[in-house]
């Protein structure tokens, strides 16, 4: 069934929004030097992917549509584990080098 023009379908808009949010999250993770902002950029990227899954779920039929609702559950659990370990590492590194600027975390390079 092709999309009709009189009733605007949000399915494509959702995917574009998810792509823009993903790119903004990637920009935060790449541009900012504060480790907290880097971690938050990664969280934003994971959120954008979840939005994409849910957007696609509405364009499928039957059982296939539910997979779009089930996969984000696992993404959210992975994100929780990642935030948990990531923040513990931030605490660990900050106690050692007394900064949250990622430019100072170059111990592996020397």
């Amino acid at each position: 069934m092709p999309p009709t023009t009189d009733a605007f379908d949000p399915a494509v808009a959702v995917q574009v929004l998810a792509a823009l949010l993903f790119c903004l999250g990637a920009a935060v993770a790449l541009v900012r030097r504060n480790v907290f902002l880097i971690l938050m950029g990664i969280e934003l990227m994971l959120n954008a992917v979840n939005l994409s899954f849910i957007g696609f779920a509405r364009t499928l039929s039957g059982d296939a549509s539910l997979w779009g609702h089930i996969t984000p559950i696992f993404t959210i659990a992975i994100a929780a584990a990642e935030a948990c370990v990531g923040l513990a590492m931030v605490i660990c590194i900050t106690r050692r080098s007394d900064t949250v600027d990622s430019d100072h975390f170059a111990g592996m390079r020397e």
Binding site: M1, P3, A7, F8, D9, P10, V12, A13, V14, Q15, V16, L17, A19, L20, L21, F22, L24, A26, A27, V28, L30, V31, R32, R33, N34, F36, L37, M40, L44, N47, N50, L51, I54, A57, R58, T59, L60, S61, G62, D63, S65, L66, W67, H69, P72, I73, F74, A77, I78, A79, A80, A81, C84, V85, L87, A88, M89, I91, C92, V100
Partner: protein
């Protein structure tokens, strides 16, 4: 009545979409990590609203509970515990990091036109709504269909391992060997 529903849906959809994009831009440009965390909570709340609009009430609630509630609370808590918020003021993005922004910019330039041209259409009535009974039925299906219960158990194990790892990582720096010995003495003295 249907017309009114349509208008309300679109008003909510574009409001949430704009809020999430503005929040993400705020996160990119903020000077203070704590403000960044608040922007991100705004993005996540807007996304939760979008999930509710897009037939996924369970994930909308999960988004607020786990993301905006638990994960961001943890982030804000650690920022405040380390009290390093002012460190973020010192560094502005320099040339090298602005070059890094070219990568996501190029990514957006490649992906967005492709996505905008996709022949996607909402299948009202055919697609399941993401409600708890339907999700649970498919997640824990054992009648020979493709169930995810094993993956669900593994996620539980992963979370447990992550918690133990986080405790070990954060603890190792807290007690130096000297403190450890003192604590042991203290413990022995109590007995």
């Amino acid at each position: 009545m249907n017309e009114l529903n349509h208008i309300v849906f679109h008003a909510c959809f574009w409001l949430m979409a704009a809020a999430s994009l503005l929040g993400a831009i705020g996160l990119l440009t903020t000077r203070h990590p704590l403000h960044g965390a608040l922007y991100l909570i705004g993005v996540m709340s807007a996304l939760a609203g979008l999930y509710l609009l897009l037939d996924s009430p369970f994930l909308g609630v999960l988004q607020i509970l786990v993301y905006a509630g638990a994960i961001m609370m943890l982030v804000v808590f650690v920022i405040m515990v380390l009290n390093r918020a002012k460190d973020g003021d010192a560094r502005r993005p320099d040339i090298l990091s602005l070059l890094g922004a070219l990568v996501p910019l190029a990514l957006a330039a490649v992906i967005v036109p492709q996505l905008a041209g996709l022949p996607l259409a909402t299948r009202a009535g055919e697609a399941y709504r993401g409600e708890v009974p339907a999700i649970a039925e498919h997640l824990f299906r054992t009648d020979g269909g493709q169930g995810y219960w094993l993956l669900f158990q593994l996620i539980g194990v992963l979370l447990l391992v992550a918690i133990v790892a986080a405790v070990l990582l954060a603890k190792r720096t807290l007690d130096t060997p000297a403190d450890d010995a003192a604590a042991k003495d203290d413990h022995a003295a109590h007995h």
